[in-house]
């Protein structure tokens, strides 16, 4: 009997080879038609707009590269605006050498490249801004976004302490105005200071709330760049929101730190996109998670185009 048992164990060992369990299969995955991919969210307090353009690839294809010779153009309510310039494979709409008109929200010229790049005027709420990207090898792709009305932060009340180990614990209550039920919002608490450039610092910001609308909380431990943000729908907003947060900072640059509340108005497409990105990142590497599809608002392409409007207030 021992002979038979040994034989069985040997058999099992033999078939324990990894290759014996695997087989290459032919799954008829439809050939992927590469399309242009761009992520472009224009914000009204940005000092530089840059847009990267890529192409998509089949899942078994080689990696993709940036596309350097695409033509990108904007139009506002059907009126064409100027196209971008290319520098180092990135398409810039910049105030380099020119100036930014805060009232009109327009770049008027760019002396470095000898042209004027007129950007969309975001003053007109609910204006439709369109983007068009062309490159000969790929289908032309277009997307549009509505300009959200600009909200405002009317009041911030903050209370908090810094303990002996440089950990800040506090709460902030913020009152907003101009929240539109048809739009979507991101609220963020950010910190800027000397530590901003301290790549050896270790920071985290943790936000949570009893308010079910703000249940989601994120913990970041990025080097020197703490952010916490929440997304909500305008229709759900009532009056104000309160956040507790703890901030742990092992750097020595505590006294120069500044805290800000940012409120960013978003279109529905951008809101859905950001939510999907958050879920995708959370699920990344989790073998139990269901697959996540990142939505796009580009026709015949991938990526996201949107216009956001931001207000920022220190507390």
């Amino acid at each position: 009997m021992i002979k038979y048992i040994s034989l069985i164990i040997l058999s099992i060992s033999f078939f324990g080879c990894e290759d014996a369990f695997q087989q290459v299969i032919e799954i008829d995955i439809p050939e992927h038609e590469p399309k242009l991919v761009s992520y472009c969210i224009l914000d009204d307090i940005q000092d530089t707009f840059h847009i990267d353009v890529y192409h998509s690839a089949g899942i078994l294809d080689d990696d993709f590269e940036k596309i350097e010779d695409a033509k990108i153009s904007f139009s506002a309510d059907g009126t064409n605006l100027n196209a971008a310039v290319v520098f180092d494979s990135t398409y810039y709409f910049s105030d380099w050498g020119g100036h930014w008109d805060q009232e009109k929200m327009v770049w008027v010229k760019d002396t470095l490249y000898g042209g004027a790049y007129v950007l969309p005027n975001f003053d007109i709420a609910k204006q439709i801004i369109e983007i068009e990207i062309e490159q000969g090898q790929y289908p032309k792709t277009t997307a549009s976004s509505i300009v959200p009305p600009k909200p405002s932060i009317t009041k911030i009340e903050y209370s908090g302490i810094v303990d002996t180990i440089n950990e800040t614990n506090g709460s902030v209550e913020v009152w907003f105005d101009g929240i539109n039920p048809d739009f979507f919002y991101m609220v963020a608490i950010t910190k800027e200071g000397l530590m901003y450039n301290d790549t050896y610092g270790e920071t985290s910001l943790n936000i949570d709330s009893k308010d079910p609308r703000f249940r989601v909380h994120y913990l970041y431990a990025n080097l020197g760049f703490p952010d916490g943000f929440l997304l909500f729908e305008g229709k759900d907003f009532e009056k104000s929101f309160t956040k507790r947060f703890g901030f742990r900072d092992w750097s020595d640059s505590h006294t120069d730190d500044k805290y800000f509340v940012k409120l960013i108005a978003l279109s529905k497409d951008v809101y859905n996109y950001l939510n999907a990105v958050i879920v995708y990142n959370q699920a990344d590497g989790n073998p139990f998670a269901e697959p996540v599809v990142i939505p796009t608002n580009f026709d015949n392409g991938y990526g996201i185009f949107g216009v956001t409007r931001t207000v920022k207030k220190e507390f």
């Binding site: 299969i25 799954i27 998509s56 180990i165 950010t190 952010d227 960013i264 990105v277 959370q282 998670a289």
Partner: protein
């Protein structure tokens, strides 16, 4: 005036019925195995003179009301010698019958438990599998497995290679009501679903109902699996056991008080951990670390049956089983000692106390009190002890996390059987169940010299009550038989009460040719949900209740079919259509690990509700089942052609998609043959369309910081994969041949059997999952990417030794 006439008519009818019954008398009692005392379920009682008959219920009780006259009764049960009895019926009598098994027949043949022919039954979509046949079927690692045998039936699919999950007519595993001696069992698998928790040595009967549910069943959408444990031998101490590659088991049964009180105990344990321990120790010594750990599962069944008198019996049943996996690693680096522990444990405890009482010859009551508990605990910890200063003082930093989930039930139930005449069998009853759900909580403890965290994340236990009541009548009108019933249920979680009325209809019409036409329509409501990953079958799957936000699952199913028995064969062909509402699924990106929340003081988290969505399901198809139940060769051929769909507004862009276990064709062939008294052999061959899977179709570059450089939102990694439409692709088709042979030898006082088997005899690489990998040339350069199917169970021989005394 009209009202008075109606009242008079009613009184006249009642008087006529009373006079009619006054001319009749009732024979009632129990039918038992003469040797063991085991009550025989669905044994037949037939009066050849009047042509009337009945069958015994789950407790072996029967009641037959006949005209006061001489009667020619026959008591029969397949595999047993029939017992004729002629008597002059003048008044109600209690008649307990003992049938002796046909010894010669049993030694060489496997026979079915049931005597009633398939065309005589009203019930459709129901299958009884003899436990002796289950024991003969070749299995993985030689472990006899009830659930894996059920997967070979038409309309029942397995979740994946080697898994015990049951997917019945398009349903999911949480939609199966699995009852062990009448008590629901929540987690029915060991070792990540490879083995089921049911020890065949302790089991008397196995019955699966896939549709046409009688009103006495409720609470699940897709199936009812009734498993009844043996009661215990009434006269002698009997034992049986086996020693296999991965486990051993032993069962002992016998009388405590002869002919009055019996017991049965049965236990099983795996011993991979015992075999691996010396190897682990040796490996650890080579690496300079201490490694400890264990991996095993165990089951224990126990039952005590006591007969107070002819009218009162008590049954106490107990089951406990658990899986334990633990690793313990200690690394010593001189000034630094590092200790890591990880463990997973999950298991069930099921207890039931049942009391049978016979009020009258026509009225039988079973009272059941049950307790069922399922717990999962995952534990991980790290401890770092180091020298913190030059004086040699030590400091310790530690991290520990414990994840727990589970469900506990306390239940009370009354089930009445009322048999007023051979043409009516009325069942009615009611039950109340208290569910306590613990849908996932994570406790985190972090300690070092400067700070201390002790936090619980997740959801607090949820209490709810479930109430059920039912009435059904099995009626007979010549060639037409009907089972008509109504099931009522109510569920009261926090802040909401759900109620549901569920009509049930089953019909059978016997054609002159002997073929039976059958039809059924049932509606079901389910207040429990199992949050399970489609990717893997895990003990981490969470049981959660319907709530104010998560509404109950509902279904309706209709089926039509034809059935006929030919000599030793039974044939049934059925078509079914099932619609399910409010089935649950995780949202994209979600799993049991994501989104745990901090519990505020006095607050009640509900994170799991935000991770799931509800939608619809649809399944339809046809099943053919040809079974040979008698003779030296037994077995069946089962074929299913089916379609199975799901639709969720928040998944797959709202588009309908194939359920992962949508299997267009599913074929099983099971054959056992008794060559001699000493040698029997068996073979099974299964074939199924490959599982539906989602695969990434394209990839996109990641976005950098996209808004204003702040907030800092970006994709992790260089690219993200764009998945296909949900379950758009198929794995390769599945097929497998298993073979087994038994050598039995009878000794003077005992018998022994050597069982040798082969799982996946021709080593077909059946896919378990698909992975993407790179193909490299001789220089190690990547030449292309391909998809690979990975199988986990190759050709696996097994051997076991079993004995019986």
């Amino acid at each position: 005036m009209q009202k008075k006439r109606t009242t008079l008519l009613f009184i006249l009818c009642m008087v006529a019925i009373s006079i009619g019954y006054a001319q009749k008398a009732t024979i009632s009692g129990y039918i038992e195995d003469q040797e063991t005392g085991e009550r025989l379920i669905a044994a037949n009682v037939f009066d050849t003179k009047s042509g009337q008959g009945t069958v015994t219920n789950t407790f072996g009780f029967y009641s037959l009301t006949l005209p006061k006259d001489s009667v020619n009764l026959t008591f029969s049960y397949i595999g047993y010698q029939s017992k004729p009895l002629n008597l002059d019926l003048k008044k109600d009598i209690q008649l307990n019958i003992e049938l002796s098994s046909d010894v010669l027949l049993q030694e060489v043949e496997i026979v079915a438990d049931r005597v009633e022919k398939i065309e005589e039954e009203t019930q459709m979509s129901k299958v009884d599998i003899p436990v002796e046949l289950i024991k003969k079927i070749p299995t993985l690692f030689g472990e006899v497995d009830v659930l894996k045998t059920l997967q070979l039936l038409p309309g029942v699919q397995s979740g994946g290679e080697g898994q015990t999950g049951l997917y019945v007519r398009g349903g999911s595993p949480d939609q199966n009501l699995i009852l062990l001696d009448g008590v629901p069992v929540y987690n029915v698998s060991h070792l990540l679903g490879i083995f089921s928790v049911f020890n065949a040595d302790a089991i008397k009967t196995v019955t699966l109902t896939k549709g046409g549910f009688p009103a006495r069943f409720g609470g699940r959408l897709s199936s009812v699996l009734e498993i009844n444990m043996k009661d215990g031998h009434k006269e002698k101490i009997k034992g049986e056991g086996s020693i296999g590659i991965i486990s051993s088991k032993f069962t002992l049964q016998g009388p405590i008080i002869k002919n009055k009180t019996t017991f049965l105990i049965s236990a099983r344990r795996t011993y991979w951990d015992l075999l691996a321990r010396p190897l682990l120790k040796k490996a650890a010594m080579n690496e300079g670390v201490k490694v400890g750990g264990t991996l095993y599962f165990y089951d224990a069944n126990a039952k005590i049956t006591h007969k107070f008198n002819e009218k009162n019996r008590l049954f106490l049943s107990f089951y406990s089983g658990a899986d334990i996996f633990k690793t313990d690693i200690e690394e010593d680096f001189g000034n630094n000692m590092y200790k890591t522990q990880f463990g997973v444990a999950w298991g069930n405890i099921v207890t039931a106390a049942r009391w049978n009482h016979q009020f009258t010859p026509k009225l039988f009551l079973n009272t059941t009190m049950t307790y069922s508990n399922y717990d999962l605990k995952v534990h991980a910890s790290e401890t770092d002890t180091y020298q913190k200063d030059t004086l040699g003082n030590l400091a310790t930093e530690s991290f520990a996390a414990i994840y727990k989930s589970g469900i506990r039930d306390f239940s009370g139930k009354l089930d009445f059987d009322y048999i007023p005449s051979p043409n009516h069998y009325v069942r009615f009853g009611a039950s109340a169940t208290r569910h306590i759900y613990s849908p996932g909580a994570l406790t985190v403890k972090v300690e070092d010299e400067s700070f201390n965290i002790d936090t619980t994340l997740g959801t607090k236990p949820i209490n709810s009550m479930e109430y059920d009541a039912y009435v059904e009548d099995d009626m007979k009108f010549g060639a037409l038989k009907m089972n008509i019933g109504l099931h009522f249920s109510a569920f009261a979680p926090k802040d909401v009460v759900y109620t549901s009325l569920q009509p049930r209809i089953g019909l059978r019409y016997l054609l002159p040719s002997g073929y039976a036409l059958k039809g059924s329509f049932t509606t079901m409501t389910q207040y429990l949900n199992l949050l399970a990953s489609e990717s893997f079958s895990l003990p981490s799957d969470l049981w959660v209740p319907s709530t104010k936000n998560i509404v109950p699952q509902q279904s309706w199913q209709s089926a039509i079919g034809v059935a006929k028995s030919f000599k030793d064969y039974e044939l049934s062909v059925e078509g079914f259509y099932k619609q399910m509402k409010n089935v649950v699924s995780y949202l994209p990106g979600e799993s049991f690990l994501t989104g745990l929340e901090v519990l505020e003081d006095g607050g009640e988290g509900n994170s799991w509700e935000t991770k799931i969505t509800q939608g619809d399901g649809e399944a339809y198809g046809a099943e053919v089942f040809l079974q040979k139940k008698k003779g030296k060769t037994t077995g069946w051929i089962g074929y299913t052609l089916s379609w199975n769909w799901r639709q969720f507004d928040k998944i797959n862009g709202g588009k309908k998609f194939a359920f992962k276990y949508d299997r267009r064709h599913d074929l099983s062939i099971v054959v056992t043959h008794q060559f001699t008294k000493k040698i029997s052999a068996s073979a099974t061959w299964v074939y199924g369309t490959g599982n539906a899977v989602s695969l990434p179709e394209s990839k996109l570059p990641r976005a950098g910081t996209i808004i204003n450089n702040n907030p800092n939102i970006y994709f992790s990694g260089d690219e993200y994969e764009n998945p296909s439409e949900k379950n758009k692709f198929r794995m390769s088709n599945y097929h497998r041949l298993d073979l087994g042979i038994d050598f039995t030898k009878k000794k003077k006082r005992w018998s022994r059997t050597w069982s040798i088997g082969v799982y996946n005899a021709y080593f077909h690489k059946n896919p378990y999952f698909i992975t993407r990998s790179d193909v490299r040339n001789n220089e190690g350069e990547v030449t292309k990417s391909v998809f690979k199917e990975v199988s986990i169970l190759p050709f696996l021989p097994s051997i076991s030794y079993s004995f019986k005394f």
